[in-house]
């Protein structure tokens, strides 16, 4: 136990002495959490709409006005011709072009069906889909007004059966995307900092030659590994604390569940991540290699974590892979506990999986670390 203390002391000294690293470890994650949480949103707003009006009547102007009144659209200038509008699309200055046909007002007043041309830049397919829905919404509500205007004289309305649906959004009434993203990004930052640092750790001593010096001492393998893990474990918990405070104070993310439970899970989770880092460190010869492998896994873990895109949307094989992904569990748990207030038994399954992985990985790490070649 005393021996481990000496290693921990030395690791902490090295961490705090490195003036170049301290801001990267502490300031950069905080800044990123503060800034990037705002970036992660699927809300589509400010859709730039350009229109070509061949009709030029009060009705066509009314349609444009109802686009202008909507929160989603920003109506740009009028284009004089289809070709001009197309060019604006080419150079990327508009998202949607609306073309109002000739005789638009006349057809409507006669009760004929008239067709609007809508051209959407669909390179980002998901965004285009949403834009299309919004265009349709605006046009539908406009056409209801028009119908009322022209059909009010056409006699009594027939009473139709109606299924009224009342949506209720639990846990996040305003559908605030930040509430969803902040905990997820926090997980990511905690994971990245601890994984990168721990995977560089042993291999760094290999490169500088100090590892050989340690290998000729009578230190036990488990003492060495625990001594190396502990400082980063503390670091991860400190980062989590800072992140939670920011989430609460700056983003007003609710913290419904038990904070102790969150720390319990993080404590176990960090053991897994650090074990993973040291494993990488064990099997590489240079920091460059270690970093590269850590980076490879982090990117795949992020993409398959359900952080940015829901896991349910993935195909079956990809969903199966996510079961091996530690970030997936942490993202899931932090959202469950913070936003829904899930309790110990709700997350017991995930907790035991992570604990199992952590145990297995650390056994492999200690076992695979060879003082003798």
């Amino acid at each position: 136990m005393k021996t481990i203390g000496y290693i921990i002391q030395k690791e902490f000294r090295q961490i705090f002495r490195n003036k170049a690293m301290l801001p990267i470890i502490f300031v950069m994650p905080v800044l990123q959490l503060l800034i990037l949480s705002n970036a992660a949103t699927f809300d589509i707003k400010n859709i730039r709409l350009l229109y070509v009006d061949h009709d030029r009547t009060s009705t066509s102007r009314a349609l444009i006005n109802s686009f202008d009144a909507s929160d989603y659209f920003k109506v740009m200038d009028r284009a004089s011709s289809h070709a001009k509008a197309y060019e604006a699309m080419e150079n990327g200055s508009v998202d949607v072009i609306l073309e109002i046909p000739n005789k638009f007002e006349k057809d409507l007043s006669l009760g004929n069906v008239t067709a609007l041309g809508v051209y959407i830049n669909a390179i980002d397919g998901a965004k285009a889909g949403v834009e299309n829905v919004y265009v349709n919404q605006v046009v539908q509500s406009f056409s209801k007004q028009v119908q009322l205007k022209y059909l009010s004289s056409a006699g009594g309305t027939v009473m139709a059966a109606k299924v009224a649906s009342v949506p209720a959004f639990w846990y996040n009434k305003e559908l605030d995307y930040k509430t969803f993203m902040v905990p997820g990004i926090l997980v990511l930052l905690v994971t990245m900092v601890t994984l990168f640092l721990s995977s560089m750790n042993i291999v760094r001593e290999k490169e500088t030659g100090t590892l050989e010096q340690i290998n000729v001492t009578p230190i036990k393998k488990y003492q060495f590994i625990i001594g190396k893990l502990f400082p980063f474990w503390v670091l991860g918990l400190v980062l989590l604390t800072v992140g939670l405070l920011l989430a609460k104070l700056v983003f007003h993310v609710p913290l419904v569940g038990s904070v102790a439970l969150l720390y319990l899970f993080t404590a176990v989770y960090l053991l897994l991540i650090l074990g993973m880092g040291l494993l990488v460190s064990n099997y590489t010869d240079t920091q460059q290699q270690a970093m590269f492998i850590a980076w490879f896994f982090v990117v795949i873990f992020i993409l398959l974590s359900g952080l940015f895109t829901p896991i349910e949307s993935m195909p079956g094989w990809a969903q199966k892979i996510t079961y091996l992904n530690p970030i997936r569990y942490f993202v899931e748990i932090i959202r469950m506990v913070m936003l829904k207030g899930s309790g110990f038994w709700d997350i017991a399954r995930q907790l035991s999986i992570i604990a199992g992985y952590a145990f297995a990985l650390n056994v492999i790490t200690v076992w695979g670390y060879k003082k003798t070649r």
Partner: protein, 245 residues
């Protein structure tokens, strides 16, 4: 030579990497308080042999007993009783002198009190008081090496292994370094040192010369010079190398 205990006993020690034999059935013994020179050209197998003796490389065959422990089966016990200084400076550049001493003393199981006393003694002896708070990385190479040697002796090992300890150091520092080695040997510590400076070989009690994984000569410098009819160890070495070719 007076009757003393055997500290290192090596019999037919061999290390193979695939089909390449780096160390080929070497055998020798060293005694308490002896300065044992381990010579050879680069790639002759010196470092590989030494790594087996300090328990960080497993022998392919043969045996080696260091301080009564078998390096094959009890490497961790061997490590408790030896000191080691590698050719690459291997202390933490970003820690200061006392912090390095605390760390290495700590993992050898010294008590806080012992670490403090011995650390102070080292700083005093080397005259490093003024730079004690400086990060080790900023010290000149000569100081670093003297410090590394002192740290390797901190836990008072019975044998200390030095792997080319004076590489890249100026002649004056080299001299001072050898004075430190003599002083330690007088206290009864066995010194096992590899070097390729032939003048340093003259300082050793006994010298072994390795060529292509084998020990080709082993005796005191005086006897070796007589045996090869040479005026210096350098000449001995040249003749040996030529013979093998």
């Amino acid at each position: 030579m007076k009757e003393t205990e055997k500290v290192i006993v090596v019999n037919d020690l061999t290390k193979k990497f695939g089909s390449f034999t780096a160390v080929d059935q070497i055998s020798f013994e060293t005694r308490k308080g002896e300065i044992f020179g381990f010579l050879g050209a680069n790639g002759a197998g010196k470092t590989t042999a030494m790594k087996m003796l300090i328990g960080i490389s497993k022998p392919t065959s043969g045996e080696a007993i260091v301080n009564g422990f078998d390096v094959k089966t009890q490497p961790e016990k061997v490590k408790k009783t030896i000191g080691y200084m590698s050719q690459k400076f291997s202390m933490y550049d970003d820690l200061n002198i006392m912090e390095n001493i605390t760390f290495f003393g700590g993992i050898y199981g010294l008590s806080r009190k012992e670490i403090k006393e011995r650390g102070e003694a080292v700083i005093e002896k080397l005259g490093l008081r003024e730079v004690a708070k400086k990060q080790v990385g900023s010290l000149p190479l000569g100081w670093k090496q003297k410090l590394a040697f002192s740290v390797a002796l901190l836990h008072e090992p019975k044998v200390v292994f030095l792997d080319e300890p004076t590489g890249g150091v100026d002649p004056i520092t080299r001299r001072q370094f050898w004075e430190m080695i003599y002083a330690e040997a007088d206290k009864g510590t066995t010194i096992f040192v590899t070097t390729h400076y032939m003048d340093e070989a003259e300082y050793c009690n006994r010298v072994s010369i390795m060529v292509e994984g084998k020990i080709e000569a082993l005796d005191s410098p005086k006897n070796l010079k007589k045996q090869f009819d040479a005026s210096s160890m350098d000449e001995v070495f040249q003749k040996l190398a030529r013979n093998v070719e």
